[in-house]
């Protein structure tokens, strides 16, 4: 492999990895700010969102340059395309972390709400999402397809918790009419976490595409339908 192309690839790989860690941190901090009603932390997340956006633009432009200057083909081309999409997905996840943090800033959370969180399995939901994010990164770094595919199953958990959370919230809102707003906001949070899961799925799909040239997008759901039938 030509050295200077390798250098460019290395650079992009590192940037994606940094972006990934940044987004992970954002999501993690947003979670902690919700859990501990930590407004300072939430403010920090909101502030850092700008960095995520700037980082996304930087990576986009670097990948564009890479494609323009080095005309990558085969694995290099899949890498460039996958990283481009991974970059966008990460940015979306960053957006969700930001909105969750803003929810914390908007809403004065009371310690009593923790009970609700317990009922909603917020912690489980959150930790599952974070694990998925970490697993996918690890699968990308180690070129581990099995690990990447394992993410898809974990995603089911998120869907399940999300479905269940709606019921809990409806019940809670009926009991505490003054908490309807909170309930709706929380439903939004869960929805965002569920969407985060979908984006992480995308990350995993792109990882598999990059490593193995296997297109899993949309197919995966079809296959699942087939299994059920």
């Amino acid at each position: 492999m030509v050295k200077f192309v390798e250098n460019e690839l290395q650079n992009i790989r590192k940037e994606i990895s940094d972006m990934w860690m940044l987004v992970y941190e954002q999501l993690d901090n947003a979670y902690k700010s919700v859990l501990n009603a930590d407004v300072t932390l939430a403010e920090q997340v909101a502030a850092r969102e700008k960095r995520v956006n700037a980082f996304e633009l930087k990576i986009d432009s670097d990948i564009e340059d890479f494609i323009a200057l080095y005309n990558p083909v085969a694995v290099d081309l899949r890498f460039a395309l996958a990283m481009l999409k991974i970059n966008n997905n990460l940015e979306r996840i960053g957006d969700y972390a930001d909105s969750i943090a803003r929810f914390v800033l908007r809403t004065e959370l009371k310690p009593a709400d923790r009970v609700l969180f317990e009922q909603l399995k917020l912690q489980q939901m959150y930790e599952t999402a974070l694990t998925m994010l970490k697993t996918t990164l690890s699968s990308l770094e180690h070129h581990d397809i099995a690990q990447a595919k394992s993410v898809f199953e974990i995603d089911e958990t998120l869907d399940a918790i999300n479905d269940q959370a709606i019921d809990v919230l409806v019940a809670y809102a009926t009991e505490h009419p003054d908490a309807v707003r909170l309930c709706i906001e929380l439903a939004g949070v869960f929805r965002k976490l569920e969407r985060t899961g979908d984006h992480i799925n995308n990350l995993a799909e792109e990882t598999v595409f990059y490593i193995d040239a296997e297109v899993l997008k949309h197919r995966r759901t079809l296959a699942k339908d087939g299994d059920e039938a």
């Binding site: 030509v2 050295k3 200077f4 323009a68 200057l69 080095y70």
Partner: protein, 250 residues
């Protein structure tokens, strides 16, 4: 600091106006690529930097070309001394009909270096810097024609580097080579850029994109656009440049 500067350069072959009003500044230590369709004047322009066009009867230059701030077409300039400081690598590998060692030592010898130990040392350094030393160190006495095409071209680069030029001109250095040899030459260009300023003419836009920091696009004897390579290849200012690099030419 600009290594090479061209000011209002016009160049004629007889009555043919080959280069029209070109201004360019090439900073020290950069790799600058000249691209453009055949006959656009890029090679002609390159060959002005070591006065190689002097050999062509009926050629005429207007304007100034400065290297390190000195007008190289000044009457007081000794053309041999100028060329010693401005190396050149050609389209096809063109080793001399001599041994590998003598090919690299040639530049030293014709410039009066006689110290044998020193010559051997420079030959080794030059071959090393051209990433050829390990391949040829056991057959320095063999004819240069025994090497493969790619090796021959690296030998020619070593030959040019042996006299430590401060500028290296490359006229489509990889156009006659296979892709693997080309890749090696390109890598070499990136490494040599730490030792010398490199100006490379190339037909392959990808090559220009890969190896250069700055790119100049020539068309019909004019320099249409000159700028950072990344900029030229992602967002050129002129439509002609865009058409050329996207292949929508003509």
């Amino acid at each position: 600091m600009n290594k090479i500067e061209a000011k209002n350069v016009d160049f004629y072959y007889g009555s043919f106006h080959a280069l029209k009003g070109i201004n360019i500044a090439i900073p020290t230590g950069e790799v600058v690529a000249f691209i453009g369709p055949s006959g656009c004047g890029k090679s002609t322009f390159l060959r002005l930097f070591n006065r190689m066009n002097d050999l062509i009867p009926g050629a005429r230059l207007e304007g100034q070309i400065l290297i390190d701030g000195n007008d190289i077409y000044d009457r007081s300039v000794d053309v041999d001394v100028l060329r010693r400081g401005v190396g050149m690598v050609f389209q096809r590998p063109n080793p001399f009909p001599k041994s590998i060692f003598e090919n690299v030592a040639y530049g030293l010898r014709v410039n009066g270096v006689k110290d044998k130990a020193f010559i051997s040392q420079r030959v080794e350094e030059a071959l090393t810097s051209a990433a050829l030393w390990t391949e040829v160190k056991d057959k320095l006495k063999e004819s240069a024609y025994a090497l493969s095409g790619g090796q021959q071209q690296r030998l020619c680069i070593a030959r040019a580097m042996a006299v430590q030029p401060s500028v290296l001109l490359m006229d489509e250095p990889a156009s006659a080579l296979d892709p693997i040899s080309t890749a090696k030459i390109e890598e070499l260009i990136c490494e040599l850029s730490s030792q010398t300023t490199i100006v490379i003419v190339t037909h392959s836009m990808q090559q220009a994109a890969r190896v250069s920091n700055k790119t100049a696009f020539f068309y019909l004897g004019e320099m249409v656009e000159y700028g950072e390579t990344k900029k030229i290849f992602t967002n050129p200012e002129k439509e002609a440049t865009q058409n050329y690099i996207t292949g929508r030419f003509g």
